[in-house]
C-alpha cells in the first residue's frame, strides 16, 4: 500500500512540475544595464524550403558580429540580439514560432524571409499583436493580397520589400523580345499561393502578355506535386508554343521537363519562376538544365554594397562560396539586406521602447541596401517597397553552370553578363 502512495505522490509532484515548468522557465527575461533590442527571425531552416535558408548561418554570424558592437540611437549604443527560429517549412509552425517570439521572447522587431508560407503567417501574428515586422523574399502580390490587404488601407505594423509580378513580366518580356521565337506562350501555374497570383487573369501574367502581343495557353491550375503533365504538354504542342513560362516548385518542373522530352515538346525558351533559382536544381537536371532561364533578384554582379558592413555583392557571394564550398544563391543578398533595414530602422527610431515609433521609422525608411534601394513611401501599395529585377539564363561555364544576366532593360544599373541562347 505504501509503495502505491509514494508512486502516486511522486507522479503528482512530477505532473505538477511538468505543468508548472513552462511558467517558471519563461520568466527569465533579464534587463541588462546596456539597453538591448531583441529581433526575432523566422526562416525555413529545415524541410522542402531549406534551400532558401541555407546561407542563414553565414549571414547571421556576420550580422551578429556587427550587431554586437551596438547600433547608435539618439546618442546611445543599443545592443541588438537576433533570436532565430526554424519554421520547418510549415506555415502552422511559422505562426507558432512567430507568436513564441512575440509573446515569450518579447522581441521588439520581427523579421522573416522566404515564400508566402513563411512570410504571411509571421506577418499575420505580428499584425494582430502590433509588433513591428519586416519581411522579404516573396513577391509582393501573394504577400499583400494573400493576406487580404486593401491597397488604400494597407497594414498597420507589417512591411515588406521585394519585387512584384509586374517586374517579373517586364523582365521576362524584355528577355524574350528580339529572341526570334514565335509569340505563343505556354503557362504552367500550380494551385498554390504563388501560382494563383502569377496566373490571376487580372493581376497576373495573362493581361500584360496579351498587351505585349503574346498569346498565352493556360491549361488551368495544376495540383502541386503532380506526376503527370501530359494534358498540359498536349495543349502546348497543339498551340505551337515556343516559350514556356510559369511558377513552379523544383520537383514539379523536373517532372514536367522530363515528360516534355519524352513526348517531343521542344520549346525554344523556358523561363520559370521559383523552380530555377538554385544551382543545385540546375545541376540535378544534367545537360537539360543548361539554357533554362529565370528571374534574377540578386547576383554577385549587382552594383550594390551593404549599408551596414560596406561589403560588395561580389564579396558577399564570394565569402559564402569560400566558407562553405557551395555556389552563391540569390536569397543571400536579401537575407543580408533584411538586417540592413533593421539596423537602419534601429538607428533612426525616435524611441526604441515604443513599438509605434519603430513602425513609424520603418515607414520612413529611405536607404540603399545590397539588393537596391528600399523606400516604403514609393511602393506600388502601402507597406510594400520594390527592389530591381532582371532576368538571366543558366549557361555552361567551365565544368559547371552559371547564371548569366541576359537582360537589364527593367533595371539598367545592373550590368548584363551574357546573351540569351535559344534551346536546341
Amino acid at each position: 500500500m505504501k509503495t502505491i502512495l509514494t508512486s502516486r505522490r511522486s507522479f503528482m509532484v512530477g505532473a505538477t512540475a511538468l505543468l508548472a515548468a513552462p511558467a517558471i522557465l519563461t520568466r527569465t527575461r533579464a534587463y541588462a544595464a546596456t539597453p538591448k533590442l531583441k529581433v526575432g527571425h523566422v526562416s525555413p531552416r529545415t524541410g522542402p524550403l531549406a534551400g532558401f535558408a541555407e546561407a542563414d548561418d553565414y549571414i547571421l554570424s556576420a550580422i551578429s558580429k556587427r550587431f554586437a558592437e551596438g547600433i547608435e540611437n539618439n546618442g546611445k549604443r543599443w545592443q541588438v540580439e537576433i533570436i532565430s527560429k526554424d519554421s520547418q517549412s510549415n506555415p502552422n509552425r511559422a505562426a507558432e514560432v512567430a507568436s513564441e517570439l512575440i509573446l515569450k521572447e518579447e522581441v521588439d522587431i520581427i523579421v522573416a524571409a522566404s515564400t508566402p508560407d513563411t512570410v504571411n503567417p509571421v506577418s499575420d501574428q505580428a499584425e494582430v499583436n502590433q509588433v513591428p515586422c519586416v519581411t522579404t523574399d516573396c513577391p509582393w502580390q501573394p504577400y499583400f493580397f494573400g493576406r487580404g490587404g486593401k491597397p488604400d488601407k494597407g497594414f498597420e505594423s507589417t512591411y515588406h520589400f521585394f519585387w512584384g509580378l509586374e517586374d517579373v513580366i517586364a523582365a521576362f518580356l524584355a528577355m524574350w523580345d528580339g529572341a526570334g521565337t514565335g509569340k505563343s506562350v505556354a503557362g504552367l501555374f500550380p494551385n498554390d499561393a504563388d501560382g494563383n497570383a502569377w496566373g490571376d487573369p487580372a493581376l497576373g501574367l495573362p493581361k500584360p502578355l496579351a498587351a505585349a502581343g503574346y498569346t498565352l495557353t493556360d491549361p488551368g491550375r495544376y495540383q502541386p506535386m503532380s506526376d503527370d503533365f501530359t494534358n498540359q504538354i498536349n495543349a502546348f504542342k497543339k498551340a505551337g508554343c515556343e516559350i514556356v513560362t510559369g511558377n513552379m516548385i523544383p520537383p514539379d518542373f523536373g517532372t514536367f521537363w522530363s515528360q516534355a522530352a519524352q513526348q517531343g515538346f521542344k520549346p525554344k525558351i523556358v523561363t520559370i519562376g521559383k523552380a530555377l533559382l538554385f544551382p543545385s536544381v540546375i545541376k540535378g537536371l544534367g545537360t537539360r538544365g543548361i539554357g533554362l532561364s529565370s528571374e534574377v533578384w540578386w547576383s554577385p554582379s549587382h552594383p550594390f554594397k551593404s549599408s551596414l558592413t560596406g561589403i560588395s555583392s561580389a564579396d558577399l557571394a564570394g565569402g559564402y562560396t569560400k566558407e562553405t564550398g557551395r555556389p552563391w544563391t540569390q536569397p543571400i543578398g536579401f537575407k543580408h539586406a533584411l538586417f540592413e533595414v533593421v539596423a537602419n530602422v534601429v538607428s533612426r527610431t525616435q524611441d526604441l521602447e515604443d513599438h509605434p515609433a519603430i513602425v513609424k521609422a520603418i515607414a520612413e525608411t529611405d536607404m540603399k541596401t545590397i539588393v537596391g534601394p528600399v523606400n516604403w513611401s514609393k511602393g506600388p501599395v502601402k507597406n510594400v517597397s520594390k527592389t530591381p529585377l532582371v532576368a538571366g539564363q543558366w549557361q555552361k561555364e567551365g565544368d559547371g553552370v552559371a547564371l548569366k544576366i541576359v537582360t537589364n532593360k527593367p533595371a539598367p544599373e545592373i550590368p548584363v553578363t551574357g546573351q540569351l541562347q535559344l534551346l536546341g
Binding site: 502505491i4 508512486s7 502516486r8 507522479f11 503528482m12 505532473a15 505538477t16 511538468l18 505543468l19 515548468a21 513552462p22 511558467a23 522557465l25 519563461t26 520568466r27 531552416r45 529545415t46 527560429k85 526554424d86 510549415n90 506555415p91 502552422n92 509552425r93 505562426a95 507558432e96 507568436s99 513564441e100 509573446l103 515569450k104 508566402p116 508560407d117 504571411n120 503567417p121 499575420d124 501574428q125 499584425e127 494582430v128 501573394p142 494573400g146 493576406r147 487580404g148 498597420e156 500550380p190 494551385n191 498554390d192 499561393a193 501560382g195 494563383n196 497570383a197 491550375r221 495540383q223 502541386p224
Partner: protein
Amino acid sequence: MPDTKLHVSRTTRLSTISMTLMFVVVLVLACAPWWASRADIRLFGEISLYIALASLWNLLAGYAGLVSVGQQAYVGLGGYVFFGLTLLAGLNPIAALLIAPLIGVVVAAPVAVLIFRLRGAYFAIGTWVVSEVFRLTAAQVSALGGGSGISLPVSVVNALAQGRFLREALAYWLALGVAVLVTAAVFFLLRSRRGVALMAIRDNELAAKSLGIDIWVTKFVVYLVTAGLTTLVGALIFLQKLRVSPDAAFSSNDWTAFVIFIVVIGGVGTIEGPIIGTLIYFALRETLADLGTIYLIALGIVAIVIMLKAPSGVWGLIRGRRGLELFPISRRIRGLD
C-alpha cells in the same frame, strides 16, 4: 451476513484524490490569465487543444478500434468552416464556433457510411484518402483563397472580445474549455451503457458482437461525436493561427502524426494516456525544438523506445498490474478482504 459488505464501486481512494486534484488544477488553470504571462497562456491554450485532439483520437482508435490516420480532415474542416462563417457569412466568431461542430457531424455522417465498409488497414488508408479529398476540395474554394489560403482579418479577431487581455483570455478559456469538455465527454461516454459496449469492442470485437452489441451503430456514434468535436478543435486552432491554407489545415503531420505520437507514448486506450502524452510531447518540444532536425529524430527515438519497451505507453507503465485509475471508469468489487 458477511456478503452485505460486498459491493461494486468505481471509485478508489486514488481516483477520488486525483479527481479532486484535477478539479483544482482546472480551476487554477482557468485563472491563468491573472497569474501567467501572455506566452504561457498561449502555450497552455495550445496544450489544451492537443489534449482535446489526442483524447478524441484515443476514443476513436483506443476504444472503438477505428484507427484513423485522417483526423486532419476534421481539423481542416473546422478551420475552413470557421473562416467561411466569419469571413463570408459575417458571423460572430463565437456563433461560428457553436455551428462548426454541427457541420462536422453533418459532413462526417456520409463519410462514415462510406469508409465503414473498409476494415483494418484499408479503413486507415480510407480515412487518409478522405482527408486528401477534403484538402483538394478546400484548394478549389477560391472564396477562401483556394490553394493560396487566406488570413483572418484583425477585425474578426477583435470581434471576439473588447481589448487584448480579454481577447487572449477568451481564446484561452475556449481552448481549456474544449479540453475539459472533450475529456468529460469521453469520461461520461465510457461510464455509460455505450461505453461498456465500447470497451467490450476494444477487448474483443467478435465476443462483443456475440453478446448482442450493435457494433456498427456504436462505432458510428463514436465516429460522429469525434468528428464534431475535432471540427470544433480545428476551428479553435485556426483562430489561434490566424491563417488557413489547404496544406496547413489538412497537414497530416501536425494534426495526426503528432497526435498518434502523443497517444502512443501516453498510453492508448486510457483516458489518462493522451493527457500525459501531451505533457511529454510539449516538454520535448519546448526544450528541443530549436535543434532543428535533431528534435524530430529525438521524437522518433522516443516513439520507438516506448513502442518496444512499454507498448502500453507511459501511463501503462505507471498503472502497472495494479490497474490504477485517475478517472474512475472500471467497476471493482469491494469488501472482499
